[in-house]
Amino acid sequence: MKSYRQNASDEEELKQGSLKQTFAVIVVLLLIPALGFFTALFVFTDINNSLLQQGLLPANDICDRFRLYDALGEPVTADSQQWCSQVSHIVMLADVSMLAAIIGLLIPITYWFAVRYAGHDRKKIARIFPALTRGSIWLITVLVFLHGGILTYVIYISESYLFETVHFFLVGVIGLGSVIAGIALIANAATLTGKLRMTAFGKRITAEEAPELFHLIDDIVKKLGSRSPNNIIVGIEPTFYVTSSKIILPDEKEPLVGETLYISTPLAKLMSRAELSAVLGHEFGHFRGDDTFYSMKFAPVYAGLGSSLRTLVASAEAGLLMQLSRIPAIILLLYLWNQFSLSTAAISRSRELEADKAGAEVSSSQALARSLIKISLAIECWPEAIAALIRYKQKGSEIPEFGTIFKNTVNAAVRLADPDTILATVMDNEMVHPTDSHPSLRTRLNALRIPADVIPPDLFEFQAESSADLIPDCDVIEQELTKLIVNFEELPDDKAFSHKGQFLQLCYRLAAIIFNISDQFDLQALRTVEGSGERLFENFDISEFHTWINRQEEWSDVVEFIVAVGKELSAEDKERLMTYLGIVANSDNQRLKEKNDMIHAISAILEPERLIEIDI
């Protein structure tokens, strides 16, 4: 969940801590060079003192003479050559340490000055940072090699000089760690061309396929005096955005070029048309302010720093020794990330508020506020929905389209929690956009002059008629994309889990049938049933339970399943199941005979030899 939000006060902290951070990063970056330099200094001074005590020239002069003798064809012994080679390695250690120190100073100081020079001027940031970041990443690659070399040689020289022994394993592991990291960084840096491509789980739609949606977009664009996107894609990620980056889609051979609008179908399902219009108005507000152009310029910087960080952190399990030489580089990359964020965050936030004005302009402030709250809540529920999807896959059961899973998850969250609690949870979250960050919901609502306490209580009661109706075959598209996600994720298929899953599925299906016997939908009863399920069963999934309630299964659909799964159940599981079904039957306080008969029937199938008496 953390990746989807950032504390709103981060920027302030970032500003205050910027100078301290710079000093701290410089200190970290100077540690290994200082170690190398002082080791070289100690050894070299010791050698020279020893030579001077014997009335000889300093090491450099002796080796210079040997070199000249060699050039003149005079014999120089192998021992002398080896001795001079060691001396030159020590001098090289000092030189390389100095070089590493200079690079270590140069990068953060340059970045620090660049941030101050660029300020919050988008043109300057777009001009300076992409090139500066690419250069810095190459320098960091060099730095990783240098730090690895310094550490390796320091250990080698210290051990051989002080203790006359060398632990080659130790030296080798540290060296290998830096070489692996360096090569990985080179490979990564070589791919940073500055032209960002984004991958989206989505499908491109045309005006012929979704005429109503295109009509709505045309209206919004006209109202705003903005321009239409070149491409519209619908997908199942929980976000709306416009971008000028190239977009790679799973079923398109060539990436989409030009300006692209991304519409989230799971979110669209939660919104009315007015709310969707407000969100689209917000997105086209970005076109109006050339925000997509600048986002495209900033995005490669984030992408470059992010991919370099991932490259370095990727082998975190490799052990401390192999990590040793790359730790300063990781810290430096994090610092650069923070510094760049410092420059762009304020711009991004002000542009978002401008775009919000556009959203309110085409619809209404209330509609935009409602959509923003819904999106914030939906983002909160996204990981849970993904987890539910994974559970479906693990159980090997038929997977519904992701939009339904998502909607059920959001429904469950809304029904279980108090609206005020939900608002409090989402109010300080920042929505994530692929290429920049958004202000917190509280800030945005304040800017729209919508106080949180006037949010209507029915906000979270999602209407049956949603804006997703503008997208024909929405469910089919979601189904296709869900399959892609399932195949994309490496999901474990655990037999033990599958057995447990089947038991849980039996619980859901039987509880849903009993619950649906009542004519009226009772929210309080549903919450009781969900709460009891969570207490009685490990991994009880409210979202999946909702899916089964929505399916409205008949008794005949489930009998075979009870027989099949019942054979595998322990006495304890059976007892828990029957207890739960009793709670479900009793949840609405309507002692219906139908429910009682159903429970007896289930009991008869599960334990024909002993009919369990259940008091409902």
């Binding site: 330099f37 070289a40 000249l68 050039a71 003149l72 000092a94 030189d95």
Partner: protein, 282 residues
């Protein structure tokens, strides 16, 4: 607006950081990269230490490397070492004509470096067929400013050094160059003759030629046993004032600073003469 005091303090702090950084870098450079000698002095000293003993063991196989060394370490300085070094190599070229082709190739491979005149002079002085052929080839293809020198050299027969009496300190150096290559005592005897002949000359040029011959004989006799042997032999052969001159040189060659004493004596005589209104414009 930041107070002036703060601005000054910050500026001072910044300067201090830069000064400390500069001191640190200077210290680093001094410790790890400083030499007692500059490279050229060090390399010239080593070169001389090795090459000036050529006559003793005649390591012909190393001559190619020495030629390359002179070019690579840029030991050729205009108007200083050219003549003695040229005569040194001229003697070697004369002694080993069968190796000349190999050495000419080395010389030619450095034709883009300064100091071409040094080895052209050596080739001309060696008076060898191959040397003249090479100079002719260079004349045919060379640039105009070198053509003048080449045509003059090719038109003249080189001097036979062994029969020439030095008339300047530079001539003395040339004698030494030839001696260190050949080991021929005749060159040393030439210098002894000059030292004796003009010992008390009132002519400044003759005097300084004799004086430089004396201190160079003392210096080289200290380092080269064959020079000392020649001095002793000549002392036995000579009579009167000449004998005394040679014996004095021999005495001075016994001590490491003997040449320096002779040099200082020469300076004193010149100062005395100048105090009496003589040799004022030398």
């Amino acid at each position: 607006m930041m107070p002036v005091k703060h601005v000054l303090l910050r500026g001072l702090g910044g300067c201090l950081v830069f000064v400390m950084l500069g001191l640190f870098l200077a210290g680093y450079w001094h410790i790890f990269h400083a030499r007692y000698f500059t490279n050229i002095e060090n390399s010239a000293a080593v070169y001389e230490q090795i090459s000036l003993r050529f006559y003793e063991r005649k390591p012909v196989e190393k001559v190619s490397r020495w030629i390359a060394f002179i070019y690579e370490y840029e030991l050729v300085q205009p108007d200083t070492l050219i003549d003695p070094v040229a005569y040194f190599y001229a003697e070697i070229f004369k002694q080993y004509p069968d190796k000349l082709e190999e050495w000419i190739k080395i010389i030619d491979s450095f034709s883009d470096r300064p100091g071409q005149r040094l080895f052209w002079t050596a080739l001309w002085l060696s008076n060898s067929e191959k040397g003249r052929e090479y100079l002719k080839k260079k004349y045919d293809s060379g640039a105009s400013e070198k053509k003048q020198w080449l045509i003059q050299a090719l038109a003249q027969t080189p001097p036979d050094l062994i029969n020439i009496q030095p008339t300047s300190p530079e001539d003395n150096d040339v004698m030494w160059g030839a001696f260190f290559a050949s080991g021929d005592a005749a060159y040393v005897i030439n210098l002894i003759d000059v030292a004796c002949l003009y010992d008390d000359s009132d002519d400044y040029r003759r005097f300084i030629t004799a004086a430089s011959a004396k201190w160079s004989l003392a210096a080289n006799a200290f380092r080269h046993i064959s020079v000392k042997r020649t001095l002793k032999a000549e002392a036995g052969k000579r009579q009167g004032v000449d004998k005394n001159v040679v014996l004095r040189i021999l005495k001075m060659s016994e001590q490491p600073d003997g040449a320096a004493i002779l040099y200082e004596e020469t300076r004193q005589i010149i100062r005395d003469k100048q105090s009496r209104g003589l040799w004022l414009y030398q």
